[in-house]
């Protein structure tokens, strides 16, 4: 299962964090800093999967942003690696070529999108149109 998903920039600033296994608020900053340090120290030609404590990290870099997913041992790392990309493609579709700023200023919308894709640490929807349908409907209602 997926334990958490983070979007962190190269300066170590968290842009988005979502925990599927409860982690105390006071412990989160330290965990995130450590996880980011771990991923930032990896080189381009190294594996995208890192053994971290008793679980694994799957990370993917998009320009200045790192998306890091903590997963249990039983998870298929490459499928999570591609899930991250699917997520970015969904964001691209919604924001018309998403940027870090879009994510920062639309924190709630990005969470709403993520909610459609992952629940209870499991992948529940990967069809892009279906992921975006509820948010698009909300946008329409809010405007009208």
């Amino acid at each position: 299962m997926i334990k958490f998903m983070l979007m962190v920039n190269r300066q170590g600033q968290t842009r988005l964090s979502r925990y599927y296994q409860s982690v105390e608020l006071s412990r989160r900053a330290a965990l995130e800093a450590d996880v980011v340090r771990c991923c930032l120290s990896r080189k381009k030609d190294q594996c995208s999967f890192v053994e971290y404590k008793d679980f694994k990290l799957v990370y993917r870099q998009y320009a200045a942003l790192y998306i890091v997913v903590g997963v249990t041992d039983t998870e298929n790392e490459l499928s999570i690696y591609e899930l991250v990309h699917n997520f970015v493609e969904v964001l691209d579709k919604y924001f018309s070529r998403v940027s870090e700023l879009d994510i920062m200023f639309n924190l709630d919308r990005v969470h709403i999108i993520l909610d459609e894709m992952i629940q209870n640490g499991h992948i529940v929807e990967t069809n892009k149109s279906r992921i975006l349908a509820p948010l698009t409907a909300l946008d329409k209602m809010a405007d009208g």
Partner: protein, 438 residues
């Protein structure tokens, strides 16, 4: 996203110069969040960050308690509170207001209220009980969007003791004409199964109905429950093997609508889920395994394209083939596949190859032997993760002849390793080997 992302924080000041306009509430509240983020970003010390956030939290606290704050403003305040908490600063005073927002807001505001609740609270939080009434109300709303969001929040967290109050309403949604409602109802039931399995015992036949739903989304949702139940009791679901095989056949054969494709691969994560289920059902069971050989062969054949996601499917397929009752020609193809992974210059694939080898080496020690040159190369790989995985593999193929060499390599690794967990794990392995081969 690459070049557009370079629109970085240096562009912020010009974008936020609009924050002094009093008229447009939306613009000014957006820039309040923007101001906050820009403020945080420019700081260089943790101490300064703390000061800024405490000021922000004080401001939010004042505004949420004010009777003059509209739900629209409350929504923006909640997003700022979410941001503060994501940096690690508690904003517990806002929790009750998140619930209020979910109760009283218009549709988008309500959604943000629900979102805030799902981020702030946890299963055992006492405030969660206050949400139950709102959820019950929204589940019965004529507005389908509200029903959807209520089901979403129920799937994320719901107090166990209140399940009986909500169960009939959720069950009813299983027959809804809209697929999204049926799908979300199934996921809510999955949540109930996770937290209180005996509460949903009586509706197992409804899960079967969901499995056979004409909409692939609803069917996929039911697989979560099935995977869980099959893990607990594979015997009880052997009769469904044919159904799972048929579904996988249809998916692999491209029978799903186009929008289920990801880079031309039909519903890859669904394929992976089905392969996992089939593994569990076919394990140690020859007759059940025989039902799946054909579709596994087909999956191997179809996943020929050069994309990460097809490799992910292949990996799962290979694992399945090695888990269930053996069939020689399938095993041959799977072995070839593992070989391709291990020999691949792409490092992620090499990692998967090593992982696969570790998994299958018990059944097929010859395979590891076949690739021993590559394995030895991987031992000296600059990437520590690859090295570590190789040691894991070697541990499995240790015998009286090679034990000394392998233990030496492990000790070498321990000297350069800095991670505690790995150290503990490896030391344990060395000790085990020392005992086995004194």
């Amino acid at each position: 996203m690459s070049d557009v992302v370079e629109k970085t924080l240096t562009a912020l000041p010009s974008l936020l110069s609009l924050d002094s306009q009093p008229g447009s509430a939306k613009l000014s509240s957006t820039s309040k969040l923007g101001n906050l983020i820009r403020g945080i970003t420019e700081l260089t010390s943790k101490h300064e960050e703390e000061k800024l956030i405490q000021r922000e939290l004080a401001s939010i606290k004042e505004q949420v308690s004010s009777p003059n704050t509209s739900m629209r403003q409350m929504k923006e305040l909640m997003v700022r509170a979410i941001y503060c908490e994501s940096l690690g600063y508690e904003a517990s005073f806002s929790y009750i207001h998140a619930i209020k927002l979910a109760q009283q807001g218009t549709v988008l505001e309500k959604r943000v209220g629900y979102l805030a609740v799902s981020l702030f609270l946890n299963e055992s939080h006492e405030l969660l009980l206050l949400l139950v009434n709102t959820v019950l109300k929204d589940l019965q709303s004529t507005n389908l969007i509200e029903v959807c969001m209520a089901l979403t929040v129920v799937s994320q967290m719901f107090p166990k003791d209140m399940i009986p109050a909500i169960l009939p309403l959720v069950e009813e949604k299983l027959n809804h004409p809209k697929e999204i409602i049926r799908r979300k109802a199934v996921l809510a039931l999955y949540k109930f199964y996770l937290i209180a399995p005996n509460q949903v015992q009586h509706i197992h036949n409804k899960f079967r109905k969901a499995l056979c739903d004409k909409d692939p989304g609803v069917m996929t949702a039911s697989l979560h429950i099935y995977l869980q139940m099959i893990q607990e009791n594979p015997e009880g679901y052997k009769d469904l093997t044919v159904s799972f095989v048929t579904i996988l056949k249809q998916v692999v054969g491209g029978k799903l609508p186009m929008d289920f494709n990801y880079h031309s691969v039909p519903a890859p994560w669904l394929q992976i889920q089905l392969l996992r289920i089939l593994s569990l059902l076919g394990k140690n069971d020859q007759s059940t395994s025989e039902i799946m050989y054909e579709v596994l062969d087909e999956s191997l054949r179809r996943a020929e394209m050069n994309h990460n996601i097809t490799y992910a499917i292949l990996y799962e397929c290979v694992k399945c083939i090695y888990t269930i009752h053996p069939k020689s020609d399938l095993l041959e193809k799977a072995a070839k596949c593992i070989g391709n992974f291990v020999l691949s210059p792409k490092i992620n694939l090499k990692y998967l190859g090593l992982k696969a080898l570790t998994y299958v080496v018990q059944q097929d020690p010859k395979l590891a032997l076949q690739h021993q040159m590559t394995i030895i190369e991987c031992l000296d790989h600059p990437d520590l993760i690859i090295k570590r995985e190789t040691l894991e593999l070697l541990f499995r193929i240790t015998n009286a002849q090679n034990v000394t060499v392998i233990v030496e390599k492990m000790l070498e690794f321990l000297r350069i390793n800095t991670d505690d967990y790995t150290t503990i794990d490896l030391v344990g392995k060395v000790a085990e080997l020392a005992e086995k081969y004194p």
